[in-house]
């Protein structure tokens, strides 16, 4: 009788389909994967430790560099946590603009995902289509925030600036046009027989397994579990918007794709409502000790100048306590657990990274599957290593 031997192959950390520096050790029996050991940490910068020696406003810039495909969402989650700690009331206009920006950012992240995921599996056209719209969105975000990748635009207490003239009209034009663009991606993929063969029944998860593995975001909803932070713990006025949570059934790669595309349509609806119902008013909370004064006042009023320098240099002291605030980022539940000892620096800032926890379920998804499907499975989780390694 012939002896059965398994082969161990190494995938990554430098591998185009691992979306960053993820390394997998695959143990193969022929083409069947018998064991997967992910190795992570190649991008570890110690964000949680770094934040402990920064004031609260300074630590905001670190959050941009977690999930760099949706930096505004990270800013938002961090600011929500600090605002909860301070018990700040955010003006309605700032809340709506935050929703608007977060949803635009979600679209950009999902477009990047659909582009690279399809590219991983050989469908190159989708990349050019999706990047065309992503470019439009990044252009709009750049108009508002001044940056494409690391805006640090959502601030503790509100936003750094109001939207510029002409922005609303551009958003309206985009919102009107975008559903047709999603139709285009769907023409390329949804009923494409090759796409279906490549994704259906690949790397499936049952609802119970997904919950047990702590998976959140589109990967969880593809299993049919209705958990979305925007509905479960509405933040930033999401309870005033009318939108649905798309759910899948089988929890395979195809369902994750379908859920994300449906999510883009819902995000489009939210953006439409946000821009059309945008309230007027201030964009920063009224708090003399935590929110910097208006830039114009800084040039004219000595008291405002002092306040500005005080907040920029020393930050502000926070009440003792611990809070957890989370948002539904494009990857899943992104949470910040901030412990304050009463000083101007976070005593402990724990980031609950959705990609990290979703990636933990990868071995469960692909053990027993074919080696060629690893790429499909990794792509379907939509990981960003900046967030996993922190």
């Amino acid at each position: 009788m012939a002896e059965t031997r398994t082969m161990t192959i190494n995938m990554g950390p430098q591998h185009p389909a691992t979306h960053g520096v993820l390394r997998l050790l695959l143990e193969l029996d022929g083409e069947i994967i018998t064991k997967v050991v992910p190795h992570i940490g190649y991008l570890h910068r110690g964000v949680e430790k770094l934040s402990e020696s920064m004031t609260y406003p300074q630590a905001l810039t670190l959050t941009d560099r977690l999930d760099y495909t949706s930096a505004l969402s990270n800013n938002l989650a961090y600011c929500l946590a600090v605002e909860k700690l301070l018990d700040l009331k955010i003006p309605k206009r700032a809340q709506y603009l935050r929703v608007l920006l977060a949803e635009l950012q979600r679209l950009a992240a999902h477009l990047l995902w659909v582009a690279t995921h399809a590219l991983d599996m050989g469908a190159m056209t989708v990349l050019f289509y999706a990047f065309r719209e992503r470019e439009t969105i990044l252009g709009m975000l750049e108009q508002v925030t001044g940056a494409r990748l690391t805006p640090s635009f959502v601030r503790i207490g509100g936003l750094a600036k109001d939207i510029p003239d002409g922005f609303a009209a551009e958003v309206r034009a985009f919102v009107e046009d975008f559903p047709r663009r999603i139709d285009e991606y769907e023409t390329l993929l949804t009923d494409n027989i090759i796409w279906k063969k490549r994704t259906q029944n690949i790397a499936p998860m049952s609802a119970d397994e997904a919950v047990n593995y702590g998976v959140t975001g589109p990967v969880l909803r593809a299993c049919g579990v209705n958990y979305d932070v925007r509905k479960a713990y509405p933040y930033s006025g999401y309870d005033e918007f009318d939108f649905e949570i798309p759910l899948g059934e089988r929890g395979d790669v195809y369902d994750r794709y379908v859920v994300r595309l449906k999510e883009m349509r819902q995000s489009n609806r939210i953006i439409d409502q946000a821009i059309n119902n945008l309230p007027t008013g201030p964009i920063l909370a009224d708090s003399a000790f935590a929110v910097p004064p208006d830039k114009e006042a800084v040039g004219k009023d000595i008291a405002a100048l002092i306040r500005h320098f005080k907040i920029a240099q020393e930050g502000f002291e926070t009440p003792r306590g611990e809070v957890y605030a989370s948002i539904e980022s494009s990857k899943g539940e992104l949470g910040f657990y901030v412990v304050s000892d009463g000083s101007n620096k976070p005593f402990r800032m724990r980031i609950r990274p959705p990609s990290f926890i979703n990636l933990g379920a990868l071995p469960k998804m692909i053990e027993g599957q074919m080696v060629a499907d690893v790429v499909a499975a990794i792509g379907s989780i939509d990981i960003v290593l900046g967030e996993i390694d922190r």
Binding site: N212, Y213, Y233, G321, Y324, S326, R352
Partner: protein, 174 residues
């Protein structure tokens, strides 16, 4: 629909002295429990018919250096049927270990590894307790408050050490 405060009451009734304190801050309920009962308490919260805290959202450690007990492990649970959060915390001293919950929630596997990596806390019966983010031969646990932020030569100017050059020329006048 049970609220987190009701869950805290239920825990008090069932586990008595193992529940050390219950507090609320900004609408979040924190329950501090004894280290030895942590597994039973979490199993009860997960499997009880009406509480059903089935999703382990987060599991992390905090170093209260100087306090006794020094470390705190924080479990954040979410109940999908009842839609609420409950935070369970437990304290442990240096060099103490705590039972794993990675068999209760598979999600805890990597999160416990991260706590081990960053704070050096060991989990009993964890199937694969290795460093996760840092390299295997890293020394120390950086999220400890007494981990040095600067090296011994941090503030010294950096000098380039070139090999001694053999100079044969003596300049213009030599």
């Amino acid at each position: 629909m049970t609220k987190p405060s009701e869950a805290a009451e239920r825990l008090k009734a069932k586990f008595g002295e193992a529940i050390l304190s219950v507090s609320e801050f900004r609408g979040e309920v924190n329950v501090t429990v004894g280290k030895n009962a942590i597994r039973d308490i979490l199993l009860f919260l997960k499997n009880s018919d009406d509480l059903r805290y089935d999703l382990l959202i987060d599991l992390c450690g905090v170093d209260y250096c100087g306090d006794d007990p020094r470390f705190e492990i924080v479990y954040l649970l979410h109940s999908l049927p009842n839609n609420n959060h409950l935070r369970i915390k437990t304290r442990l001293r240096e060099n103490e270990t705590i039972d794993t919950v990675s068999d209760v929630w598979k999600a805890a596997d990597w999160m416990e590894r991260e706590i081990y990596d960053m704070l050096g806390i060991s989990f009993n019966n964890h199937p694969d307790l290795r460093r996760i983010l840092l390299v295997d031969d890293f020394s120390g646990h950086p999220l400890k408050k007494d981990f040095p932020l600067e090296g011994p030569d941090f503030d010294k100017p950096f000098t380039v050490q070139l090999e001694e050059e053999t100079r044969t020329d003596k300049g213009f006048n030599g």
